[in-house]
Protein backbone atom coordinates (compact mmCIF):
# COMPACT_ATOMS: atom_id res chain seq x y z
CA UNK A 1 0.00 0.00 0.00
CA UNK A 2 2.60 2.50 1.11
CA UNK A 3 4.87 1.23 -1.65
CA UNK A 4 2.20 1.83 -4.30
CA UNK A 5 1.66 5.30 -2.88
CA UNK A 6 5.37 6.00 -3.05
CA UNK A 7 5.60 4.84 -6.66
CA UNK A 8 2.60 6.90 -7.74
CA UNK A 9 3.85 10.04 -6.00
CA UNK A 10 7.39 9.64 -7.32
CA UNK A 11 6.22 9.08 -10.87
CA UNK A 12 4.06 12.20 -10.63
CA UNK A 13 6.97 14.17 -9.17
CA UNK A 14 9.35 13.10 -11.91
CA UNK A 15 6.75 14.01 -14.53
CA UNK A 16 6.45 17.45 -12.94
CA UNK A 17 10.25 17.83 -12.96
CA UNK A 18 10.29 16.92 -16.66
CA UNK A 19 7.57 19.48 -17.22
CA UNK A 20 9.69 22.10 -15.45
CA UNK A 21 12.57 21.37 -17.78
CA UNK A 22 10.66 21.03 -21.05
CA UNK A 23 7.74 23.46 -20.77
CA UNK A 24 7.90 26.14 -23.42
CA UNK A 25 6.01 28.64 -21.34
CA UNK A 26 8.09 29.62 -18.33
CA UNK A 27 5.06 30.37 -16.16
CA UNK A 28 3.88 26.81 -16.74
CA UNK A 29 7.37 25.62 -15.86
CA UNK A 30 7.15 27.53 -12.56
CA UNK A 31 3.81 25.89 -11.75
CA UNK A 32 5.26 22.44 -12.52
CA UNK A 33 8.13 23.34 -10.20
CA UNK A 34 5.64 24.08 -7.39
CA UNK A 35 4.12 20.61 -7.91
CA UNK A 36 7.58 19.05 -7.78
CA UNK A 37 8.37 20.86 -4.51
CA UNK A 38 5.13 19.56 -3.07
CA UNK A 39 6.01 15.99 -4.06
CA UNK A 40 9.38 16.40 -2.34
CA UNK A 41 7.49 17.52 0.77
CA UNK A 42 5.43 14.31 0.49
CA UNK A 43 8.66 12.31 0.34
CA UNK A 44 9.82 14.01 3.53
CA UNK A 45 6.57 12.95 5.20
CA UNK A 46 7.20 9.37 4.07
CA UNK A 47 10.65 9.63 5.61
CA UNK A 48 9.02 10.69 8.91
CA UNK A 49 10.59 14.14 8.76
CA UNK A 50 7.41 16.20 9.00
CA UNK A 51 9.24 19.33 10.08
CA UNK A 52 11.28 19.22 6.86
CA UNK A 53 8.04 18.88 4.90
CA UNK A 54 6.66 22.00 6.57
CA UNK A 55 9.89 23.87 5.89
CA UNK A 56 9.79 22.69 2.28
CA UNK A 57 6.26 24.02 1.78
CA UNK A 58 6.99 27.29 3.58
CA UNK A 59 10.32 28.18 2.00
CA UNK A 60 10.27 26.53 -1.41
CA UNK A 61 6.62 26.92 -2.38
CA UNK A 62 6.01 30.05 -0.34
CA UNK A 63 9.16 32.01 -1.05
CA UNK A 64 11.39 30.53 -3.74
CA UNK A 65 8.65 29.72 -6.26
CA UNK A 66 7.04 33.13 -5.80
CA UNK A 67 10.40 34.86 -6.25
CA UNK A 68 11.04 32.86 -9.43
CA UNK A 69 7.58 33.79 -10.69
CA UNK A 70 8.38 37.46 -10.13
CA UNK A 71 11.64 36.98 -12.02
CA UNK A 72 9.81 35.32 -14.92
CA UNK A 73 7.21 38.06 -15.15
CA UNK A 74 9.76 40.87 -14.95
CA UNK A 75 12.03 39.49 -17.70
CA UNK A 76 9.48 38.04 -20.01
CA UNK A 77 8.02 40.54 -22.46
CA UNK A 78 10.70 40.96 -25.15
CA UNK A 79 12.03 37.44 -25.38
CA UNK A 80 9.43 35.11 -26.81
CA UNK A 81 8.57 31.81 -25.26
CA UNK A 82 10.01 29.81 -28.15
CA UNK A 83 13.60 30.74 -27.31
CA UNK A 84 13.60 29.18 -23.87
CA UNK A 85 15.03 25.82 -25.02
CA UNK A 86 18.25 25.38 -26.98
CA UNK A 87 18.66 24.00 -30.49
CA UNK A 88 18.37 20.37 -31.41
CA UNK A 89 21.98 19.15 -31.22
CA UNK A 90 22.45 20.81 -27.83
CA UNK A 91 19.24 19.21 -26.68
CA UNK A 92 20.60 15.77 -27.60
CA UNK A 93 23.84 16.54 -25.78
CA UNK A 94 21.98 17.63 -22.65
CA UNK A 95 19.79 14.53 -22.64
CA UNK A 96 22.86 12.36 -23.21
CA UNK A 97 24.80 13.95 -20.35
CA UNK A 98 21.87 13.70 -17.94
CA UNK A 99 21.16 10.11 -19.00
CA UNK A 100 24.75 9.04 -18.44
CA UNK A 101 24.78 10.69 -14.99
CA UNK A 102 21.55 8.85 -14.17
CA UNK A 103 22.98 5.52 -15.35
CA UNK A 104 26.17 5.99 -13.30
CA UNK A 105 24.19 6.92 -10.18
CA UNK A 106 21.75 4.01 -10.51
CA UNK A 107 24.57 1.52 -11.12
CA UNK A 108 26.46 2.88 -8.11
CA UNK A 109 23.38 2.61 -5.87
CA UNK A 110 22.68 -0.91 -7.14
CA UNK A 111 26.18 -2.21 -6.60
CA UNK A 112 26.59 -1.05 -3.01
CA UNK A 113 25.35 -3.85 -0.80
CA UNK A 114 24.72 -1.91 2.48
CA UNK A 115 22.29 0.38 0.68
CA UNK A 116 20.36 -2.20 -1.32
CA UNK A 117 19.92 -4.32 1.79
CA UNK A 118 18.40 -1.45 3.79
CA UNK A 119 14.66 -1.89 3.52
CA UNK A 120 13.66 -1.59 7.17
CA UNK A 121 14.16 1.60 9.11
CA UNK A 122 15.72 1.61 12.56
CA UNK A 123 12.86 1.26 14.98
CA UNK A 124 12.29 3.70 17.75
CA UNK A 125 10.29 2.78 20.85
CA UNK A 126 7.19 4.89 21.01
CA UNK A 127 6.87 4.80 24.79
CA UNK A 128 8.06 8.07 26.22
CA UNK A 129 10.08 6.54 29.04
CA UNK A 130 12.21 4.16 26.99
CA UNK A 131 12.80 6.16 23.84
CA UNK A 132 16.22 7.20 22.58
CA UNK A 133 17.11 10.84 21.76
CA UNK A 134 16.75 9.92 18.10
CA UNK A 135 13.31 8.45 18.59
CA UNK A 136 12.37 11.52 20.61
CA UNK A 137 13.62 13.70 17.76
CA UNK A 138 11.52 11.78 15.24
CA UNK A 139 8.39 11.92 17.40
CA UNK A 140 8.61 15.67 18.08
CA UNK A 141 11.02 17.11 15.58
CA UNK A 142 10.46 20.84 15.96
CA UNK A 143 11.73 21.22 19.56
CA UNK A 144 14.60 18.87 18.76
CA UNK A 145 15.60 21.03 15.79
CA UNK A 146 15.41 24.15 17.94
CA UNK A 147 17.54 22.59 20.64
CA UNK A 148 20.14 21.41 18.14
CA UNK A 149 20.21 24.82 16.46
CA UNK A 150 20.95 26.52 19.75
CA UNK A 151 23.53 24.06 21.05
CA UNK A 152 25.44 21.91 18.62
CA UNK A 153 24.87 23.90 15.42
CA UNK A 154 24.98 27.41 16.85
CA UNK A 155 27.95 28.54 14.74
CA UNK A 156 26.48 27.35 11.41
CA UNK A 157 23.18 28.88 12.51
CA UNK A 158 24.77 32.30 13.05
CA UNK A 159 26.72 31.97 9.81
CA UNK A 160 23.48 31.17 7.96
CA UNK A 161 21.95 34.29 9.46
CA UNK A 162 24.92 36.33 8.31
CA UNK A 163 24.66 34.79 4.84
CA UNK A 164 20.95 35.58 4.61
CA UNK A 165 21.57 39.19 5.66
CA UNK A 166 24.34 39.54 3.10
CA UNK A 167 22.12 37.99 0.41
CA UNK A 168 19.27 40.35 1.31
CA UNK A 169 21.46 43.44 1.09
CA UNK A 170 23.18 42.11 -2.01
CA UNK A 171 19.93 41.41 -3.82
CA UNK A 172 18.65 44.91 -3.04
CA UNK A 173 21.90 46.51 -4.22
CA UNK A 174 21.94 44.42 -7.41
CA UNK A 175 18.37 45.10 -8.38
CA UNK A 176 18.59 48.82 -7.62
CA UNK A 177 18.87 51.38 -10.39
CA UNK A 178 22.60 52.05 -10.45
CA UNK A 179 22.64 53.95 -13.73
CA UNK A 180 21.15 57.43 -13.45
CA UNK A 181 20.51 58.03 -17.15
CA UNK A 182 19.01 54.57 -17.54
CA UNK A 183 16.44 55.50 -14.93
CA UNK A 184 15.91 58.79 -16.72
CA UNK A 185 15.37 57.00 -20.03
CA UNK A 186 12.85 54.74 -18.38
CA UNK A 187 11.03 57.75 -16.92
CA UNK A 188 11.10 59.44 -20.34
CA UNK A 189 9.61 56.44 -22.11
CA UNK A 190 6.91 56.03 -19.48
CA UNK A 191 6.09 59.75 -19.80
CA UNK A 192 5.87 59.36 -23.58
CA UNK A 193 3.62 56.33 -23.33
CA UNK A 194 1.48 58.21 -20.83
CA UNK A 195 1.08 61.15 -23.23
CA UNK A 196 0.37 58.94 -26.25
CA UNK A 197 -2.19 56.79 -24.53
Amino acid sequence: MIQALFIALSAFGLLMALGTVFAKNLVHAGLYLVAFFFIVACQFVMLEAEFMAAIQVLIYIGAVAVLLMFGIMLTRNIQGDDTTIVTKQWRLLGIGAAGSVLIVLVLAINSYEPWTALAVRPEFPVKQSTTTPRGQAIISMTPAVGREMMTRYVVPFELAGLLLTAALVGAVVLAQYDNADEAEALAESSKQSATTS
Partner: protein
Amino acid sequence: MTQQIPLTWFLYFASASFAIGLMGVLMRRNAIGVLMAIEIMLNAANVNFVAFWRYGTAPAGEGPLTGVMMALFVVTIAAAEVAVGVGLILLCYRRWRSADVEEFDGLSG
Protein backbone atom coordinates in the same frame (compact mmCIF):
# COMPACT_ATOMS: atom_id res chain seq x y z
CA MET B 1 2.48 -0.33 7.72
CA THR B 2 3.12 -3.90 6.69
CA GLN B 3 5.45 -3.15 3.83
CA GLN B 4 8.29 -0.67 4.07
CA ILE B 5 9.86 1.38 1.34
CA PRO B 6 13.47 0.36 0.66
CA LEU B 7 16.14 3.01 0.98
CA THR B 8 17.15 2.57 -2.65
CA TRP B 9 13.78 3.79 -3.91
CA PHE B 10 14.37 7.17 -2.36
CA LEU B 11 17.87 7.16 -3.84
CA TYR B 12 16.49 6.32 -7.29
CA PHE B 13 13.96 9.12 -7.05
CA ALA B 14 16.67 11.56 -5.97
CA SER B 15 19.06 10.55 -8.73
CA ALA B 16 16.35 10.74 -11.37
CA SER B 17 15.40 14.24 -10.20
CA PHE B 18 19.06 15.22 -10.14
CA ALA B 19 19.50 14.01 -13.72
CA ILE B 20 16.40 15.92 -14.81
CA GLY B 21 17.72 19.06 -13.12
CA LEU B 22 21.09 18.64 -14.82
CA MET B 23 19.30 18.29 -18.13
CA GLY B 24 17.49 21.54 -17.44
CA VAL B 25 20.70 23.37 -16.55
CA LEU B 26 22.28 22.22 -19.80
CA MET B 27 19.28 22.79 -22.05
CA ARG B 28 17.56 25.92 -20.88
CA ARG B 29 18.52 29.19 -22.51
CA ASN B 30 16.50 31.35 -20.18
CA ALA B 31 18.43 32.20 -17.00
CA ILE B 32 15.34 31.82 -14.79
CA GLY B 33 14.83 28.35 -16.25
CA VAL B 34 18.40 27.49 -15.29
CA LEU B 35 17.71 28.68 -11.73
CA MET B 36 14.61 26.49 -11.55
CA ALA B 37 16.61 23.46 -12.70
CA ILE B 38 19.23 24.18 -10.01
CA GLU B 39 16.44 24.18 -7.43
CA ILE B 40 15.40 20.70 -8.62
CA MET B 41 18.96 19.45 -8.13
CA LEU B 42 19.18 20.92 -4.61
CA ASN B 43 15.88 19.26 -3.70
CA ALA B 44 17.19 15.91 -4.92
CA ALA B 45 20.21 16.29 -2.64
CA ASN B 46 17.90 17.11 0.28
CA VAL B 47 15.87 13.94 -0.27
CA ASN B 48 19.11 11.98 -0.12
CA PHE B 49 20.20 13.64 3.12
CA VAL B 50 16.92 12.95 4.88
CA ALA B 51 16.70 9.38 3.52
CA PHE B 52 20.17 8.50 4.77
CA TRP B 53 19.38 10.11 8.11
CA ARG B 54 16.24 8.02 8.53
CA TYR B 55 17.63 4.70 7.35
CA GLY B 56 21.16 4.89 8.72
CA THR B 57 22.13 4.26 12.29
CA ALA B 58 22.76 7.32 14.43
CA PRO B 59 26.48 8.13 14.72
CA ALA B 60 27.72 8.36 18.28
CA GLY B 61 28.13 11.87 19.63
CA GLU B 62 26.72 13.64 16.57
CA GLY B 63 23.25 14.35 17.84
CA PRO B 64 19.95 12.83 16.75
CA LEU B 65 19.30 15.01 13.70
CA THR B 66 22.40 15.01 11.49
CA GLY B 67 20.89 14.71 8.01
CA VAL B 68 17.92 16.92 8.78
CA MET B 69 20.15 19.76 9.99
CA MET B 70 22.27 19.46 6.85
CA ALA B 71 19.14 19.61 4.69
CA LEU B 72 17.94 22.66 6.65
CA PHE B 73 21.15 24.51 5.92
CA VAL B 74 20.91 23.51 2.27
CA VAL B 75 17.42 25.04 2.18
CA THR B 76 18.78 28.25 3.74
CA ILE B 77 21.56 28.55 1.21
CA ALA B 78 19.19 27.77 -1.66
CA ALA B 79 16.91 30.61 -0.56
CA ALA B 80 19.82 33.05 -0.42
CA GLU B 81 21.04 31.82 -3.80
CA VAL B 82 17.66 32.35 -5.44
CA ALA B 83 17.39 35.89 -4.05
CA VAL B 84 20.82 36.88 -5.35
CA GLY B 85 20.29 34.97 -8.60
CA VAL B 86 17.03 36.70 -9.44
CA GLY B 87 18.63 40.06 -8.57
CA LEU B 88 21.53 39.33 -10.93
CA ILE B 89 19.20 38.21 -13.72
CA LEU B 90 17.15 41.38 -13.37
CA LEU B 91 20.37 43.43 -13.55
CA CYS B 92 21.50 41.61 -16.70
CA TYR B 93 18.03 41.99 -18.18
CA ARG B 94 18.10 45.74 -17.67
CA ARG B 95 21.56 46.03 -19.18
CA TRP B 96 21.16 43.77 -22.23
CA ARG B 97 17.35 43.57 -22.55
CA SER B 98 17.47 39.78 -22.41
CA ALA B 99 17.48 36.91 -19.97
CA ASP B 100 19.19 34.57 -22.43
CA VAL B 101 22.31 32.93 -20.98
CA GLU B 102 23.88 32.65 -24.44
CA GLU B 103 24.10 36.41 -24.68
CA PHE B 104 25.92 36.84 -21.37
CA ASP B 105 29.32 36.12 -22.89
CA GLY B 106 31.24 39.19 -21.75
CA LEU B 107 33.76 37.11 -19.85
CA SER B 108 34.42 34.53 -22.60
CA GLY B 109 37.73 34.76 -24.43
